[in-house]
Structures are given as structure tokens and as C-alpha cells.
């Protein structure tokens, strides 16, 4: 379809975010087409998490604007904002799973956005057979189907990571945002988690934006890299066109940055 070419899944225009006196993002422009996969790279404190949160409608920018499927979340009322958020699966760095619930319950909560309180309670205490099957299939897909009825906090960090991914998929989103999904996964498994995300996104036709601090991983798994440093976009190119000079610029430390570290 031709008209989808100029339709963007995610867009940031001259985006700036300030917390108190601290500027976390400055003049960020970003356009993501539907179905596209890209990685945000940059040192910690460069603003990756904040950019993802802004793109997901979790925080409103101080200046500039965001568009999710063409709609600016800052202009929406609570009900519309909830609808927009339902279309975005977010895998948080801290996962945000409910530790004392079983794995199947945590995954079922992925659809809480479309449920009332009663519907949510029913999905936990008396889930429909078809939904349990769906959840089981999802867990199979992320490779931990044997954990279906385990309590979530008994799982390892990597397994919980997969639960969070399954929850995001159960939500049936159009866009998947993942914030440092491999930060708490050992390096050997990191590649597997990233591959899982990109594969799933491809299968489901999802737009995927992942923040990673490991350049190696980002380079190996994504066709487009966006480099962030001190809240600004340093480069935004196809991976093949990103050269070592770009990376040096991204990670070089100078005196001013050492002084203001922790932004």
C-alpha cells in the first residue's frame, strides 16, 4: 500500500525533555516506519530510556512532540491515551512483573489494558481455556513453557526477561519497545534474547525499537542504529554506514562530561 510509506509508526520532532534543571534530551528527531527495527545505542545516561518512555507515551516531552501512529499522546485525554498505550508493548529494564503472581498470570496481565477490573480478576482466577492455550504457546515461543504455573519470583533473571517479553506479546501490540532488555542477562544469553525479539517482531510485523549499550549486539542484529550521547542524536544511519569514527564520537569521554556524569 502506497499511503503507508508516508505513515510513520513513531515520530519524534525536536524532542526535548528536562527534569528540573537537568536536560536529558535535546532536539531529538526520529522517524520509525511501521515494521522497522532499530537499536538505540549510547553510553548509560545518554537518554535512551527517556527517549523510549517518550516514544511510548509514558512521559510528555518538555518541548517538541511525539507521534504514535500519527497521534500526539500529549493531546489525548486519559481514555485515548490508554488506547494508544495498549498498542505499544513495553519491555522495561526492571521488567515490572508482579513477583508473587504465577507466570501465566503475569502474561495474562498483558491484556489488562482491554479489561475491566472484573474481567481482569476473571482472567487471573478463572481464565478461559483458549487464553491459557495462547499463553502456553507464547511461553513455548520464548522457550520457558515448563514454567507456565511457576511463581514468577522463583525464575532466574533471564527467564523473567522472557516472561516480560511474553506479556508484551500477549498484549497484541503494533509496536514493541524494549529498554536494555539484556542488561540483566548474562552475555552468553544476551544474543539469544535480542534474536528472539527481532524474530518475534518480524513474525508479528511489529515495529521494534530496542535500547542497547552493547554496540556489538546492536550491530549484529539491527539494520539501523541511532546513536545517542548526552541527550542528542549523534548519528542515525543504516548499520553498514556506521563507521568506527561514529562509535568513537559516541563513547569518547571529555572533561565536561566526566564532571556532569550521572545525567
Amino acid at each position: 500500500m502506497d499511503h503507508t510509506d508516508d505513515h510513520l509508526a513513531l515520530e519524534a520532532r525536536a524532542l526535548g525533555v528536562t527534569f528540573g534543571s537537568k536536560t536529558v534530551l535535546r532536539g531529538v528527531d526520529l522517524a520509525v516506519r511501521p515494521g522497522e527495527q532499530l537499536a538505540l545505542v549510547g553510553p548509560s545516561g545518554s537518554g535512551k530510556t527517556t527517549l523510549l518512555r517518550a516514544l511510548g507515551g509514558a512521559l510528555h516531552p518538555t518541548v517538541g512532540s511525539v507521534a504514535i501512529d500519527g497521534r500526539d499522546p500529549a493531546s489525548l485525554d486519559q481514555r485515548q491515551l490508554r488506547a494508544v498505550r495498549r498498542s505499544i508493548g513495553f519491555v522495561h529494564q526492571h521488567l515490572g512483573l508482579v513477583p508473587l503472581l504465577r507466570v501465566n498470570h503475569n502474561v495474562a496481565l498483558g491484556r489488562l489494558g482491554e479489561r475491566s477490573l472484573v474481567g481482569g480478576l476473571r482472567s487471573v482466577f478463572a481464565p478461559s481455556r483458549s487464553e491459557v492455550h495462547e499463553i502456553h504457546r507464547l511461553l513455548e515461543r520464548v522457550g520457558i513453557e515448563e514454567k507456565l504455573f511457576e511463581r514468577t519470583d522463583t525464575l532466574s533473571g533471564g527467564q523473567q526477561q522472557r516472561v516480560a517479553i511474553a506479556r508484551a506479546l500477549h498484549q497484541r501490540p503494533r509496536i514493541l519497545l524494549a529498554d536494555e532488555p539484556v542488561a540483566s542477562v548474562d552475555p552468553a544469553r544476551a544474543r539469544a534474547v535480542i534474536d528472539l525479539l527481532t524474530e518475534l517482531a518480524r513474525e508479528e510485523g511489529l515495529t521494534l525499537v530496542v535500547s542497547i549499550h552493547s554496540l556489538e549486539l546492536a550491530r549484529a542484529s539491527f539494520d539501523r542504529l541511532v546513536g545517542l550521547r548526552a541527550g542528542e542524536v549523534v548519528f542515525d544511519r543504516p548499520t553498514a554506514a556506521v563507521d568506527t569514527r561514529d562509535f568513537e564520537r559516541l563513547y569518547q569521554l571529555d572533561d565536561t562530561e566526566l564532571l556532569s556524569d550521572g545525567a
Binding site: V17, T18, F19, V24, T49, T50, R53, G56, A58, L59, H60, P61, T62, A74, Q78, R82, A83, V84, R85, R86, I88, G89, F90, H92, Q93, H94, L95, G96, L97, V98, P99, L100, L101, L109, G110, L112, G113, E114, R115, S116, L117, G120, L121, V124, R167, A168, Q171, G262
Partner: protein, 302 residues
Amino acid sequence: MAPEPPRSEAHGRPRRAPLPPSSSLVRNVGRRLLVTVGLALLALLAFTQLDTPLSGLVPGESGWRIARAFFAQALSPALDYEDPSPGYRPFLVKVALGVWHTILLAAGGMTLAIAVGSVLGLMGASAFWEDREGPRALRSLRLVLFASVRVAIALMRSVHELLWAVVFLAAFGLTPFSAALALSIPYAGTLAKVFSEMLDEEPRQPALALRQLGASRRCELVFGLVPGVLPNAVAYTFYRFECALRSAAVMGFFGLPTLGLDLKLAWFDLHYAEVWTYLYALALMVVVFELWSAGLRRRFVV
């Protein structure tokens, strides 16, 4: 629209407070010393005002006699009336009925307390009111409501259930319902306070993750925050139930047919063996309840 506070960033690294200058450290020590001396003086004052010389703690001749008679029966609690008359129900049935009525009163009071305490506990948590949008007037109204809930909780707790019982017995007469109501008010307040504090100490990340996927505020709290506090809340509720059992027994002193009434009457009749039976029944009831609730708690928490 105002930007949200940088929550995720705030979790990043705890900022260490700068060391205060030495002069303020010295001032702190001085203030602490002042408070300590003040408290000590207050304790001294309390002792002198209470007007109880230590000699008053030594019982007189008759006191010794009663104590001896009472403790002499400790190992031989009554299994039948000490002073039986025809037409009385069997003694052990009477004890069982006393236990049963004590449990009923405690259960009635706790049912009310749990219902009211859970609602007030949720509404007394700051998580319930935070991050809500709306016009300024609505937000001010919410602040007022929040403050009123907190004040209501404090007021309910500030009056002991026995005082409520006195008030209600005067107002409604001697009914089990008024006693259960009296019991439920301070208990609901205590449960509400503890529940709301538990909720506010819970990590917010699960709830925020559910908000991010489009859940309503109600669902966010019920599924993101409540499950984390549930085991501790249940354990604490069981502990309060145990307290309610003791309180319900004591309410018998006002004439309700719980163990307290039996105990009081037996005492006045100088039937000390019967008194011991009631005391052991009370202790047994609490111990059995504790064993049972410990088992339930283990199932919940593991």
C-alpha cells in the same frame, strides 16, 4: 502539561546526602541530650504523681489468702460445677458455649473490620491518589478527601474497643451487634493504617508497567500493588484476629455471654477451679488459632 517526575532515573543511583558541618553535629548531640534528660524527668514525675509506694505492692493478709486459694487450683481446673444445681447445662458445654460466643463476636467484629479496613487502607495509601490528572478544583478535592481518610483512620484507632463498647452499650443496649461494632472500629482503623503503609512501601514498577500497557487506575492498583502486600496483609490480619479473640473475651465483663462473663461470675463466686478452666480454654483457643493461622500463612507466603 507538566512533565512527570523522572521516576526511572530516580531509581538509578541513590544520592548520598552531604555530611553536615561539624557545628550542626554538635548541635544535634546537644538536642538529643536535652530530649533524653526531658524524658527521664517525665518518668520521674510520673512515678511521684502515681503516688504508689513500693510497699503498696505487697498484699495484705487477706490478699495472700485469696492468692493462695486461687493458685492452689491452677493444676486442677474444674471439669464440673463446683457448686452444681439441677437444671444447669453440663459445665463443659457451658465452657464450649463461652468459647463459641467469643469466637463469634471476634469473627463478627473482624469481618466488619476487614471490609472497612481494606477499603480505607487502599484509600489511605498515597499510591491511590498520586499521578491523577484533572482540573485544579478536582485535584484539591482529592487532597481534602485523602486527608480526611487519614484523619478518619487515626480517629478510629485512637479510641480503644472497650471504650467504644461502653459507648455503644449505653446507646444501643447489650447486643452482640453493638459489641461487634465496637470491636470493629479500632480494628478497622488499625488494619487500614497498616495496609496503607504496606501499599506505600511496595515497589511501584509492576503497577507502572501495567499503566504503561493501558490498564485503568483501578486495575493498576489491584494487580500491580495489592498482590505484593497480600501475604503480609493476611498474616497481619490473622494476628489481629487473635487480638480480637482476647478482646471479645474481655467484653464479657460487660455482660456479653463470652468467656469473660463466665470468668467474672466464677471469680465472684470464689470458684477458682472454674476460673482456671476458663483461663485454660481462652489460652487453648488462642494457641489453636495461632497454629491454624501459621499453617495458612505458610501456604500463602511460600
